[in-house]
Subunit: 297 residues, 2 copies
């Protein structure tokens, strides 16, 4: 019997959660309090960063959050940027903030990120949050891995005891999602294998996966022969490739060769319309938690 | 051709490193400075903790470190213990310290551990160190996982591109060693699968491992049928079982059924005489790094 693949409804899930957050914000405002406030610090004019930050602003507006963007020129000194972070750490009107990465050359990302008060680190990039994640303690989870968990959870996909293969070991997606999928938690409790550039027999490893998470940063890397019949496939890649048939002149594709893979899998998250939409939603969820001091008093 | 297994010489490796540290300490003293100083905080009278702390004191003496033990009764309040930690954080004569776990009931381990200045956290248990480890940044590595890496490195075992299976996902051993073995580093760069209580087909997964790290806490869990011909087997378990033939009335065994497994593997670390000896050595190495402010200025 052929498997009938279900496309994971990233947009529907993201919209549902935003509606849920909006309800909470209306209650907050009705009680006479100010709404949650998220700040993005944006250095320079990187187009991808601009696009992400404007998506964030739009999402904040949709749910009723206050949203600020602090812009600085590419030439800002590290000292000055640390002052900005320190100012935000101490500003009681700011619940959470992110310093948009990548930073221009000459600025030490690790130093800047570690200077953020981890209680306002709604991106979940501070080592204190990463370390608490590893120890399965309450923390701000990094936005994209958290979005992947949300997609699985809201699609009622059981992860316990499943073989999960993660492709790519980046600090931002692959490594943390491999930890989260293996933790004693729900979603979680999978048997996780983390693959990377040094992995041999990658096709064989992937073809054993019940859940395959592709975050390897290579367009259409995952082909049908790498996917087990009935597997769940989560595509984290975002690549812009030329396309003459599109009015924009390009189209967005993922790390998974969607058309051929969807014939074999049970669930698949599309690109666009999948994980990407959940990343910003995770940021909103973390900001609401920061506002409520749910994780750190 | 039968594989000729080599027993990893934990004692030889540990003694060699202690000798190397002792040379450094003599240089420090010759230059007129005080030697490194490690403090253990011990609450209550847990026999395993007493044994570990006395092993630490002995090792410190061997290499020329100053070693202190701060003892407190089981009934110490959390507030008082936090004061002790704070005192040690600020004591310039102390380079590194550990709070021996487990703590008696009523004391919040996570709160105590997070109150330690991560720059003196030579156990590598503070989330800031765990998070930096995850991000492949310089940090204090947790002692037992670090000891496993040392055994592999000093035995010239190549880990790059190997399939590594870790049994057990504890915060102290399994989870961190799975991260370390998969990092872009040497030793590291393995394709790691982390197994735990929810893992299915565990025998099949283990039998694909080039490197098998057993930290599951069950005596003789790993049998010969779980081990690939020529695999490297690292045994982290320590179990005391009754033995009438021994003058002590007991013997120490590991998570691996040594006699049958050693016939199949290429390298095996014994219990006792393997990983356990390296744990304290890692603590000495971290304390020397803390003294020299090699990781954190």
């Amino acid at each position: 019997m052929p498997v009938l693949p279900k496309i994971i409804e990233g947009k529907f899930i993201a919209d549902t959660i935003k509606d849920e957050i909006a309800v909470e914000v209306r209650k907050i405002i009705a009680s006479g309090k100010r709404p949650p406030h998220l700040v993005a610090v944006l250095v320079g004019m990187d187009p991808a960063s601009e696009s992400y930050v404007s998506g964030k602003e739009k999402a904040c507006k949709q749910v009723g959050f206050i949203s600020s963007v602090y812009r600085y020129p590419e030439g800002i000194s590290q000292e000055k940027l640390l002052e900005v972070v320190n100012f935000l750490n101490n500003d009681e009107e700011v619940d959470g903030f992110i310093v948009q990465l990548p930073l221009p050359e000459g600025l030490r990302e690790d130093v800047i990120i570690e200077s953020i008060d981890y209680r306002k680190d709604v991106d979940g990039f501070h080592p204190a949050n990463a370390g608490r994640m590893m120890k399965n303690l309450p923390c701000f989870l990094p936005a994209t891995p958290m979005g992947i968990l949300t997609l699985l959870e809201r699609s009622n996909i059981d992860t316990e005891g499943k073989n999960c293969v993660v492709l790519g070991r980046s600090n931002i997606v692959g490594t943390p999602v491999s930890i989260l999928m293996g933790r004693k938690a729900k979603p979680g409790n999978s048997t996780v294998t983390l693959c990377h550039s040094k992995t041999k027999n990658i096709t064989e490893i992937c073809s054993r996966a019940d859940i395959l998470i592709a975050a390897i940063g290579q367009p259409h890397f995952v082909k049908a022969d790498m996917v087990k019949e009935g597997a769940v496939v989560i595509d984290v890649g975002i690549h812009r490739i030329p396309d003459n048939t599109s009015p924009k002149g390009y189209k967005i594709i993922g790390d998974v060769a969607f058309d051929e893979v969807m014939k074999k899998c049970s669930f698949i998250s599309p690109v666009p319309g999948g994980v990407g939409l959940l990343t910003i939603v995770s940021l909103l969820q973390n900001t609401l938690k920061a506002y409520r001091k749910e994780i750190y008093p």
